[in-house]
Amino acid sequence: MLEVQNLHKVYPNGTRALTDVSFNVEDGEFLVVIGLSGSGKSTLLRCVNRLIEPTQGKILWDGVDVTAATGAELRGVRRRIGMIFQQFNLVKRSTVMTNVLAGRLGYVGTAGSLVGLWSAEDKAQALRALERVGLAEKANARADALSGGQQQRVAIARALMQNPQLILADEPVASLDPVLSHSILQYLEQLNREEKITVVCSLHFLDLVHRYATRVIALKDGQVVFTGLPQEIDKARFKEIYGEDAIEVKAGLSA
């Protein structure tokens, strides 16, 4: 279980990105975080694995106090939390295989990994992960030779290499064609259902939220303004979260 308690984040320039955010995520949930851009979704997700230092508050995961962890302990926490980004964040000049293997870095020795030595096991696992996202034949291509949708699948394979118990996905489909959105989210859904990996994912489009979320929290100006089931978001709630002028758009193409 992931427990976020009274989390605050104030950036050095004074921006209050998160204010007193508290919520729990049960194992096996597919939690979607919604909110306007600038509402603090990315900040929240990055606080969970401490890519961003929270200013105040506590995050407990599996009973471990993530906010207090340092050094090796923190890296031990991170390696069991996969992360997927809006911009994919692959190393573009490296091969797909190298990008995927990088997911193992938290598990392998420093010396071996620095000279690029990987065990046969790791390589086999990387190929399996690539097969899983349908890109085994691209293993030796350079990452920047792939399309956006393919790159995001490589990123999922990289996260899989971590044998994660939790996947954080920060707007994983926002830079992709709507057509591809479902394909990416279906991979996440599959991992969530079959591997019992908890997913915390921020999304923009409400139709995607309705389709994939088991639960939703909404952020507005860094505060939680809604927690509940996706079907509870009616017109009134929608206006509350997104403001009076918002109109609902769809990612299109239902799965």
């Binding site: 694995n49 890519l51 890296r75 031990g76 926490v77 991170r78 390696r79 069991r80 939390i81 996969g82 992360m83 980004f85 911009q87 994919f88 964040n89 692959l90 190393v91 573009k92 000049r93 490296s94 190298t98 990088a102 997911g103 193992r104 870095l105 938290g106 598990y107 420093t110 990994s113 620095l114 990123a155 990289r158 290499m161 971590q162 954080l168």
Partner: protein, 472 residues
């Protein structure tokens, strides 16, 4: 108002300062102090050496007249103190500029007529430079000599003659006095090839005998068809000052013939140039390689985006960056002086200097490359639980390799240039020979060295431009 003027009369700028125009007040005070200092300095006679050679324009009491300028500014400042805030100060600025310019002119010892009056000296340099001393016609040097006493001792001595190439030399007298005309006979010469007559003084100095009717030209004699030469010469005054000229001293006459063998070969200096160029290129290559390897680790420590995670790493960043900046700003020529002191003359000292400078310069450039990379992949690698070294290896290195390579090649060009000149301070390579030839006024060798440097730098620039094109 009057109060402010009074304050400025007592101390220039004080009125303005009290009025809240602090920068203006301090500026006025600063300018007046600087002027007084400058005038004081221009009055002191300057001596450059122990021979107390005065530099004519400095120490001129006429410079005392310049005191009128700070006095005028002082007066202006009293008036200015009572003026509104927005008033301009072009009067003192132009006054001060004129004075600084004129005294600066004196300090730099600017003396344009010298440029024109000594123009003929240029030819002394240009003429030998048109004949670079790099290759020469292949020839075999042969010589023979005969010894004689100058002046003649009381008892007649034996003459000795010697030769390493079967040139026999004999005199008609075993001794002579300065100014005597003697006859020399040489045998075993190559027919019809010019022969030089060279005198060796008692302390071993050589100087060629000159033509009697044209003392600016050396004597060159032709042997007959049998290889024999008989000619006369006047015993020169070769006794060094300080030695009693009445004491008989052994001196020698050398007969030297250089027999052309056909074809061309490197001259002695040409060989030195090749050796110097070879050293220079090796030096540049080693310095670039070691410098790049050294810059690599430092560049990561000097990249803000990698080092800002906590106070300790930020401290390391500040220290490393400061050191790189300081070392980078010192010319490698200056660094070389330090290494020459530590290591001694030679290419090793030069290489160390260029290496150190390369580490600092490339470390800075590399760190800027790192600061400009996409932070996304770094974030992603960090999220996998990777440690700092792994983040560098998988998130940073792949992104920076192309730019690092380009900068390294560019640095190689700079290092070739630096290595040509580093020898001037004893750092080995072609510059080491060059500075000696300059000091010896051997302009033929100097010009050959210049040409060699030109060729090397051009070739290296071309190669590296091609390389960079390939990589781009």
């Amino acid at each position: 108002m009057a109060r402010l003027s009074l304050a400025s009369l007592l101390l220039p700028g004080l009125g303005q300062y009290l009025d809240g125009r602090r920068a203006r007040g301090l500026g006025i005070l600063g300018v007046i102090l600087a002027m007084l200092g400058l005038i004081w300095w221009s009055l002191i006679p300057q001596h450059l050496s122990l021979e107390s050679r005065p530099i004519p324009l400095k120490g001129d009491p006429a410079n005392l007249a310049w005191l009128v300028v700070p006095a005028l500014i002082w007066a202006w400042n009293v008036w200015d103190a009572a003026r509104p805030e927005t008033a301009r100060g072009w009067i003192p600025v132009s006054l001060a500029s004129i004075m600084f310019f004129v005294i600066g002119w004196q300090a730099a010892e600017i003396n344009p007529p010298v440029l024109a009056s000594n123009v003929d000296r240029v030819m002394l340099i240009i003429r030998p430079m048109l004949e670079p001393d790099f290759i020469q016609a292949r020839a075999e040097e042969r010589e023979g000599w005969v010894e004689l006493l100058v002046p003649c001792p009381a008892e007649a001595p034996m003459t000795t003659a010697g030769s390493d190439h079967a040139i026999g030399v004999a005199l008609d007298a075993p001794c002579g006095s300065v100014g005597d005309t003697l006859t020399v006979t040489a045998t075993g010469l190559t027919p019809d090839v010019g022969v030089e007559l060279i005198w060796q003084s008692p302390i071993g100095d050589f100087f060629p005998l000159r033509q009697a009717d044209n003392p600016t030209e050396f004597r060159v004699e032709k042997p007959d068809a049998q290889g024999n030469l008989t000619t006369t010469f006047v015993v020169p005054n070769a006794i060094p000052p300080g030695i009693d000229p009445t004491l008989p001293q052994e001196q020698r006459l050398y007969i030297r013939q250089s027999r052309p063998l056909g074809g061309w070969e490197l001259s002695t200096n040409g060989r030195f140039i090749l050796q110097g160029i070879y050293e220079t290129i090796a030096l540049a290559l080693m310095a670039t390689t070691l410098g790049t390897l050294g810059a690599f680790p430092f560049s990561f420590l000097a990249a803000r985006n990698l080092m800002s995670s906590n106070a300790f790493t930020l401290g390391v960043y500040v220290v490393v960056r400061t050191i790189l900046n300081i070392v980078r700003s010192i010319e490698s020529l200056i660094i070389a002086i330090v290494f020459v002191v530590i290591i001694g003359l030679g290419p090793f000292a030069g290489m160390m200097a260029v290496t150190v400078h390369t580490i600092a310069a490339l470390g800075k450039l590399f760190s800027e490359v790192i600061e400009g990379i996409d932070p996304g992949p770094i974030e992603a690698i960090r999220a996998t639980g990777a440690n700092w070294l792994q983040i560098i290896r998988y998130g940073v290195v792949p992104q920076v390799v192309p730019a690092f390579t380009a900068f390294t090649i560019y640095r190689w060009e700079i290092n070739v240039r630096a290595s040509t000149i580093i020898g001037v301070v004893g750092g080995g390579g072609i510059g080491f020979f060059l500075i000696q030839w300059i000091n010896l006024s051997d302009y033929r060798a100097v010009s050959a060295a210049f040409l060699a440097i030109l060729v090397v730098v051009q070739v290296m620039d071309f190669v590296s431009a091609k390389l960079r094109e390939r990589l781009a």
